[in-house]
């Protein structure tokens, strides 16, 4: 039986806006299984990103529980959440968010050295991972402004997985990329997932969602649909696409 890595109970998240309370996530119960590639979809404003931040300890829920491997994290202080994130999570953002004043290798190592001690093995691992995603040794000393959007996002992914996180979160990682770059990036995600990495990804792109194993549909702060994708190999891409499209049409996407 596959164990759950992340679980929420009655999760709520509200924002105060001009004195008005806006309830973005409402009493949400959810379980993310270890090794799953979970995709969260929904229309704009449905609370996808808010849910991702609450799950990942980037933000604190207003009410309810978030359990990571059975441990409640919603009561953690900001600094405790920072430690939680560095030990357990990796993040890939839509805008990449590389550190502008650090070169490619340093961007990756900045994420690594807060968790582990420096060693030749660590540096080698960073270089290997970068090479695997197509960043050559010559590019290691480049600064983010010298990279294309796709290259930057690949560096972002390496930075996210350098610590072998227990779970990888991605917020529309291909949102700002062209189709070619998107494909490259998604291939990396698929590759990482095949090696057992748990992934939670927010997207509104069908092609991106097709890479997942489970699609959750969010509407008005609650999960209204939970679709398990056919396993790779059993169905061809067309079938997967049809199945997902039917699910999404059912959800009113």
């Amino acid at each position: 039986m596959v164990s759950s890595i992340l679980k929420t109970e009655k999760l709520c998240k509200s924002f105060s806006n001009g004195g008005l309370q806006q309830h973005v996530i409402k009493n949400l119960d959810l379980e993310i299984r270890e090794g799953d590639f979970t995709v969260i979809m929904g229309s704009s404003g449905s609370g996808k990103s808010t849910l991702l931040y609450a799950l990942s300890g980037m933000d604190k829920p207003s009410m309810g529980k978030v359990l990571f491997n059975g441990t409640e994290i919603q009561g953690y202080s900001n600094d405790e959440l920072a430690v939680f994130r560095r030990r357990n999570c990796g993040f890939v953002f839509q805008s990449v968010y590389l550190l502008e004043n650090q070169n490619v290798l340093d961007n990756v190592l900045t994420g690594a050295l807060i968790v582990q001690k420096n060693s030749p093995e660590l540096v080698m691992k960073a270089k290997d991972l970068l090479k695997k995603v197509g960043i050559s040794d010559e590019d290691l000393n480049k600064y983010p402004s010298q990279l294309s959007g796709g290259e930057a996002q690949r560096v972002g992914i390496v930075r996210a997985i350098i610590n072998d996180p227990k779970i990888l979160f991605a917020d529309e990682p291909t949102g700002q990329l062209n189709s070619s770059s998107s494909r490259d990036v998604l291939d990396i995600f698929s590759d990482v997932h095949k090696r057992g990495q748990s992934i939670v990804m927010v997207t509104h792109d069908l092609k991106t969602a097709l890479r997942g194993t489970r699609v959750l549909y969010l509407r008005d702060g609650g999960i209204v649909g939970d679709y398990s994708m056919p396993v790779y190999g059993e169905n061809d891409l067309k079938e997967r696409r049809n199945g997902l499209t039917a699910f999404l049409e059912e959800m009113g996407w």
């Binding site: 980037m58 900001n78 190592l109 540096v123």
Partner: protein, 838 residues
């Protein structure tokens, strides 16, 4: 309007930083305004006060026995002075008095009659009793106005002069503007009734040379005191230089305004430090603002705004905040003027006759605002370097295409430390401004700290620069007493650490010098607790002398040079073996061995014993012990109650008191008496007295040095606090401004798992290299400034308290670290989610 709105938006968004700029410009304007409005007034205040008194600008008093009528003729014929008058004076140096709180003090006093006073000046009364009230007062006294202004005397107070242990209480009937003799250093001129003056004339009558003839006059510009004394000596064929006392407008003004001028100069220095720091802080902040709002700049440019117009947005911000701060500072300077006037009057001991020129404040306000504007403009103009495309590519200017300092693959130790140093090396340029701020402010802070520590125990540290041992009893022996035998007896007392025989401070002329010398003799200089040569060594042979640092400076003398002394027709040359910090008598003291002294003063006689108390023994207790051993001194015996029991005891006590008066006040050296009552013969002699007088420096230190020490301590303490606040404000602004500028990167770091504490530590560590270097430079600067300060002010070389500087350095570094760390607390408010939804 949009541009102005952007300025207002920035001000509103960064309220704390705007408030800090307002604070800094306010402090700067306030201090500059205080200097501008009061600098000239202090100079004028003395002049105006002097002018209001109608005083002559010079008074030379000469011992009555040494004075010859010929001197006045020489003065008239050779120098043609105006308003020349010749009068009698009583001058009493280091006089014991009881102040209005009945506290004992030691002061230099000059007693005159009203007639004499009116010949010297106009006797302008500032406050007085009615004529009827004065008529009812038995012993009236008029005191210089400084007693009312600075010392808190009021009409009707009692001013008690103690002479030969006898108190002479006077009632203060009025205060008057005194031109000369209106300070602790030069003494106070007190106007007595004719009857009281006559009484004091008797008490102070010659023999002890307390009665003087004074020549008061307006000296012509080319008047030379040395030249005059030379002519007088030639005329009288006597060595009388040491009997001349000179009081002049120039000397007294210089003496009275020196400290105020120094405090004002320090105020200017403080305001400069604050101003420089403010400018760099503003420069840094604008740079950060521009980077922070790069996208907005790009949008405005894309909309057709010229870079000049966008620059104006930043300019308005500083015109508004800087101008507001400057106006507040100006208002504060005006508002505080009455209190400052009071302070200046207290320090000068004179009334303020000139109104403050507030136009100076307006000029300062405008100048500070203009300078802030100019500085802001220069930095804001960099907007033109960012055309829309560049501006849109936000942060382009922070890219480093060249070196990558401290690559992380070589990281060792702490990642926070490594990233902080990496950040510092990537942006060394911005560290220069911070460095200048810390160097200037740190130097001031360390100097203030040195002063506070130096004056922490009042005058105790200052005493080490006096050039003589201060915490001693000076026991003046009767002429027929063997000083060495007494010394040995005293030295054997358990209350005594050591004792030493020495001589009176005798005046001698120093060839080619403007002032005479006073010889201080130590049979063994190593006995001294406080004498340490700054350069060279103590004199060891009869042809060697040690001089004060001030004399070395003024006469351009150095070790190995010779000085020639003349006294009583003798002229002797001495080799300078040592130079010492000596404030005593304005650095005129010459230090010699007994043999050296005898060469120039063959008639000199050692009859004084310096007695050093043992640890924990007070001078009062020691004096009581010495008195109990040898009986009261002649001086103390005078006026003591002859309350013996039998007739014989009463007669003996009365006789001893009479003898004491003769010994202590009339220069009599030997007295025998015999009184027959019926068959009984009661006889005795002066040889019962061993001690003529016991004196200490404590009274004079309390009256002259304690106020200086107190004011300096308070001033430097305020300066230290102020500079600490300024440093804190600047670092807080820089830190919070840096957090704002790096909000994006910090948010990313947070998402990677760096805690707020990690990032705040990095912020604080980032300025550590700059702080360390700056504090080191500040320490070197403060050593130099300390040296210049003491040399310029007191003519001494004060050793710099290195441990205090080291402690100050450590404190400053920790303070800078802590302020930067806590000011970066804004990092806690950076939300990772907000960053991602931008």
């Amino acid at each position: 309007m949009r541009i102005l709105r952007l300025s207002l938006f920035n001000l509103k968004k960064n309220k704390r930083e705007a408030l800090a700029i307002i604070f800094l410009t306010m402090i700067t304007t306030f201090m500059f305004s205080v200097f501008i409005t009061n600098g000239a007034r202090i100079d004028h205040a003395y002049d105006e006060g002097f002018k209001a008194s109608g005083s002559v600008n010079r008074l030379i008093i000469i011992g009555e026995d040494q004075y010859h009528d010929e001197f006045k003729r020489i003065l008239e014929e050779e120098y043609h002075p105006e308003r020349l008058s010749e009068n009698r004076y009583i001058f009493s140096a280091m006089t014991d008095v009881l102040d209005n709180n009945n506290e004992p003090l030691s002061q230099n006093l000059l007693f005159v009659t009203e007639k004499t006073e009116r010949q010297l000046e106009d006797f302008v009364k500032t406050e007085m009793m009615s004529e009827e009230e004065i008529a009812r007062v038995e012993h009236p006294i008029w005191l210089p106005d400084t007693f009312r202004i600075s010392k808190g005397y009021i009409l009707g107070d009692t001013f008690t002069v103690i002479k030969a242990a006898v108190p002479y209480p006077f009632t203060v009937v009025g205060f008057y503007e005194s031109g000369l003799q209106s300070s602790d250093s030069y003494g106070f001129k007190c106007v007595l009734s004719d009857a009281d003056y006559d009484l004091f004339s008797m008490i102070y009558r010659s023999g002890n040379a307390h009665s003087y003839v004074g020549l008061g006059f307006d000296a012509p510009a080319d008047f030379s005191l040395d030249d005059f004394i030379d002519k007088c000596e030639a005329s009288s064929s006597e060595n009388i230089r040491s009997d001349f006392f000179d009081f002049s407008y120039d000397n007294e003004k210089n003496n009275e305004t020196t400290f105020l001028s120094i405090y004002l100069m320090m105020t200017v220095f403080l305001s400069l430090v604050t101003f420089i720091a403010s400018l760099f802080m503003i420069r840094h902040k604008i740079g950060n603002d521009i980077e922070d709002q790069m996208q907005q700049i790009g949008v405005l440019e894309a909309l057709g705004y010229r870079s000049k117009e966008i620059s104006l947005a930043y300019l308005y911000e500083y015109i508004l905040s800087g101008g507001f701060g400057a106006i507040l500072g100006g208002i504060l300077a005006v508002a505080i003027t009455p209190a400052l006037d009071q302070g200046i009057m207290i320090m000068l001991g004179r009334g303020m006759h000139e109104s403050p020129a507030f136009s100076g404040v307006i000029i300062v306000v405008l100048a500070i605002t203009a300078l802030v504007t100019l500085f802001a403009l220069l930095k804001a103009r960099t907007v033109k370097n960012y055309p829309p495309v560049v501006a849109f590519r936000r942060g382009i200017n922070t890219h480093h295409f060249g070196k990558n300092p401290m690559p992380l693959e070589k990281e060792k130790g702490s990642i926070n430390c490594w990233l902080a140093l990496k950040g510092f090396l990537s942006d060394v340029k911005s560290g220069i401004g911070v460095s200048i701020c810390i160097i200037t402010a740190g130097t001031t802070l360390l100097f203030a700290l040195l002063m506070v520590v130096f004056f922490k125990d009042g005058t105790k540290s200052l005493e080490t620069l006096m050039g003589t041992d201060v915490n001693i009893l000076m026991v003046n022996l009767m002429s027929d007493v063997d000083p060495y035998a007494v010394r040995d007896e005293i030295a054997s007392l358990p209350e005594v650490e050591k004792a030493m025989v020495t001589y009176d401070l005798e005046f001698v002329s120093v060839k080619d010098a403007g002032d005479p010398g006073q010889i201080m003799v130590y049979e063994d200089f190593n006995l001294s607790d406080t004498l340490f040569p700054c350069y060279g060594r103590f004199p060891e042979h009869d042809n060697e002398v040690m001089i004060a640092f001030r004399r070395a400076k003024t006469q351009n003398l150095s070790l190995g040079d010779s000085i020639t002394l003349t006294s009583g027709g003798l002229e002797k040359s001495y080799i300078i073996t040592g130079i010492i910090s000596s404030m005593m008598n304005s650095g005129t003291v010459l230090y010699m061995t007994p043999e050296g002294y005898s060469r120039i003063r063959a008639d000199g006689r050692a009859h004084i014993i310096y007695v050093y108390p043992a640890e924990g023994v007070s001078l009062d207790d020691l004096e009581a012990k010495v008195s109990s051993l040898y009986g009261m001194s002649a001086k103390d015996t005078v006026g003591s109650s002859a309350a013996g029991g039998s007739l014989e005891e009463k007669i003996r006590l009365a006789a001893e008191e009479k003898i004491a008066v003769l010994l202590s006040q009339y220069g009599v050296t030997d007295v025998d008496y015999a009184i027959r009552i019926g068959d009984q013969l009661i006889s005795g002699n002066s040889r019962n007295f061993v001690i003529k007088e016991i004196t200490t420096y404590q009274g004079i230190i309390k009256s002259q040095m304690a106020p200086i020490a107190e004011v300096t301590k308070k001033y430097t303490l305020i300066a230290a606090v102020l500079i600490t606040v300024v440093i804190a404000v600047i670092l807080a602004i820089l830190s919070s401004s840096n957090v704002r500028r790096q909000r994006h990167s910090l948010g990313i770091m947070k998402s990677l798992g760096y805690s707020s504490h990690d990032l705040m530590t990095q912020m604080a560590l980032k300025i550590l290299p700059v702080t360390l270097l700056s504090v080191l430079i500040a320490s070197v600067c403060v050593v130099l400034i300390n040296r210049v300060f003491w040399t310029a002010l007191f003519g001494v070389v004060a050793s710099t308290n290195i441990p205090v500087i080291v402690i100050g350095d450590i404190g400053l570094i920790l303070f800078c670290y802590a302020v930067t760390y806590f000011s970066a607390g804004r990092i806690k408010k950076i939300s990772v989610t907000e960053l991602m939804t931008e």
